[in-house]
């Protein structure tokens, strides 16, 4: 078992609030790893630490054997560490397909002078890839719709499609199920499984416990910036500390 992502005693404090208190965890390659915990447990902070939006006060982030702690967000993304956002962050002036095309701008393999001039065949290949990604996310028929005109659920899925265009090896999904209808959730579960089936590992922050339990191979529970428990969905579900954190102690 190789860990594609390892956090070693990562710590981040905002003033007196310790949002990540020496968090250590390891994500096994090819798995879906859940990150759960009550509101304010530090899940999103941890995401930002992993992707480099925040710099850790101390500790190390290792991605696929590379110490990425000092690297910028975009450098980490080019290594294959790509996240989605809680809010619907999209290139909202562009159509769905152009969003996906834009998603590949930073990581697409480069050709000589393509920054200045793209030949039609190159352009066609880029569009084809984007179309395939949209199709795989079930947005094939929305290609020409401006991102801002899509429904909330569709925008969330488009956000994932944009991230997929950046060729992630580890995809971090930040509460992807929020605000979705039941049918959209089912569709998204399948999309996430198909992403994993194509070889990417996934870290999932989510409040929707049904989705988490259905999808995740392993789950880490955070509370007040600390790791409370870790294990398979079943182990976590029965863990007394987890029940206490979620439901309060009797």
């Amino acid at each position: 078992m190789t860990g594609i992502l390892q956090l070693l005693a990562v710590r981040k404090a905002f003033g007196g609030l310790v949002a990540a208190d020496d968090v250590s965890l390891s994500v096994v390659a090819g798995t879906i790893h859940g990150l759960i915990g009550p509101n304010g447990a530090g899940k999103t902070t941890l995401f930002s630490l992993i992707t480099g939006f925040y710099r850790a006060d101390s500790g190390t982030v290792v991605f696929d054997g590379t110490n990425v702690t000092p690297m910028s967000t975009s450098t980490r993304a080019r290594l294959g560490l790509v996240r989605t956002f809680q809010s619907n962050l999209l290139f909202s002036e562009q159509s769905a397909i152009d969003n996906v095309v834009s998603g590949g701008l930073g990581t697409r393999p480069r050709q000589a002078f393509d920054w200045l001039f793209e030949c039609p065949s190159q352009r066609a290949a880029v569009m084809e890839t984007a179309r395939e990604i949209l199709q795989s996310c079930g947005l094939g028929d929305k290609a020409e719709v401006p991102a801002g005109s899509l429904s909330h659920g569709q925008q969330r899925i488009l956000g994932i499609a944009v991230a997929l265009a950046a060729r992630p090896r580890l995809l971090l999904l930040d509460e992807p199920f929020t605000g979705m209808t039941a049918r959209e959730k089912d569709a998204l579960v399948e999309i996430v499984q198909s992403i994993r089936a194509r070889g990417a590992s996934i870290v999932l922050v989510e409040h929707d416990m049904r989705a988490v339990m259905r999808l995740c191979d392993r789950i880490t529970v955070l509370n007040f910036g600390k790791v409370l428990a870790e294990g398979t969905p079943d182990q976590v579900r029965r863990h007394p500390d987890v029940m206490a954190a979620y439901l309060g102690t009797a």
Binding site: T75, A77, L90, F91, L116, E118, S149
Partner: protein
């Protein structure tokens, strides 16, 4: 006809009109045409910076860097026109590259103010240092002259210089248009629309903002060289805050979303500017009124007027060609 071919036809008509200008108009208007062409180059290069989401006060001064470079090289060293053109572009790009390190650590309003300070500092150097001719600037810049085996063209002639300018400007516009279509243009637009998302998909946003600033400066440098030869002189006052403001107003009035927007704004407002020549002191007020009117009635600039006819080179949202949403709404 497809929208793309309509805009191509429009571009050709515009170029043809420009080519025919000296035949129908006198020297005065031909010289004015030269000025318009240079301004169009300034505006479309300025738009590269705007594409990344920033507004700069330094662009006109970077044009000045090109102008001074050409003036000094041709007067002191007798460099030929093409060499000064390249040197002007390179010098402007170099100065911009140096400025970009402190300036592009800032964004938005802070960047705007920083660019203003940097620009004024450079402009004051020109005024204070005698090497740059002080307040009187550099004059008597010899016109370009081409001599090829018995065949010679004197670009001191207004019409000849107009054609030279037009050729250089069109080449630059083509280059910029290509860039915007290619990967780098997409990256600039992505940064402008959603900087955080751009970084998360692997775009080093500061590097590309810096690159936009430097590339825009290179084109501004070319515009500066053209200006130096057109006027035969270079003074620091030609690159003052006034002109930086005009550049900004023209961009806003024309609209910055499309390539033709700024060209439109530049042409319309320069013609307007010229027709106000009899009432010099009224100009700022009238500009203010125009700016307010445009912001009220065409918040996206004059380009909105043409949008139904031309679907420009941007891949902006095409709400009216989406059958699926339309049927849903119906």
């Amino acid at each position: 006809m497809r929208p793309r071919s309509i805009s191509t036809v429009l571009a050709i008509v515009l170029i043809a009109a420009a080519v025919l200008l000296p035949l129908v108009a006198g020297d005065y208007f031909t010289a004015f045409g030269t000025e318009i062409a240079i301004t169009v180059l300034m505006l479309s290069s300025y738009r590269i910076i705007v594409l990344t989401g920033e507004w700069s006060f330094a662009h006109v001064v970077l044009q000045g860097v090109g102008a001074y470079t050409a003036a000094i090289l041709v007067k002191d060293l007798g460099w030929p026109f093409p060499a000064t053109l390249a040197a002007g572009a390179a010098m402007s790009a170099l100065v911009a590259a140096i400025l970009s390190y402190p300036l592009l650590r800032m964004k938005g309003f802070y960047f705007l103010m920083g660019s203003f300070a940097a620009a004024e500092a450079i402009r004051l150097l020109w005024r204070k240092i005698s090497f740059f001719g002080g307040t009187r600037g550099l004059s008597n810049i010899p016109a370009p002259y081409l001599e090829l085996g018995g065949f010679s063209i004197d670009f001191g002639h207004t019409t000849n210089y107009f054609y030279l300018t037009l050729t250089v400007v069109i080449c630059c516009l083509l280059l910029m248009w290509w860039m915007e279509q290619a990967r780098i243009g997409g990256i600039w637009r992505a940064i402008q629309q959603q900087d955080v998302l751009a970084q998360s998909i692997g775009i080093e946003s500061r590097t590309y903002r810096r690159l936009a600033f430097v590339i825009a400066a290179a084109f501004a440098g070319i515009a500066g060289v053209l200006l130096a030869y057109a006027f035969g002189s270079v003074t620091a006052n030609r690159f003052s805050l006034n002109f930086a403001l005009y550049l900004m107003i023209w961009s806003i009035v024309g609209g910055t979303r499309t390539f033709y927007g700024v060209v439109l704004g530049g042409v319309v407002l320069m013609v307007f500017d010229e027709s106000l020549r009899f009432a010099e002191e009224l100009r700022p007020g009238v500009y203010g009124l125009i700016l307010i009117a445009v912001m009220l009635f065409f918040p996206q600039g004059l380009e909105r007027l043409l949008a139904p006819i031309v679907r420009g080179p941007t891949r902006a949202p095409r709400r009216d060609v989406v059958p699926s949403t339309r049927s849903e709404n119906a």
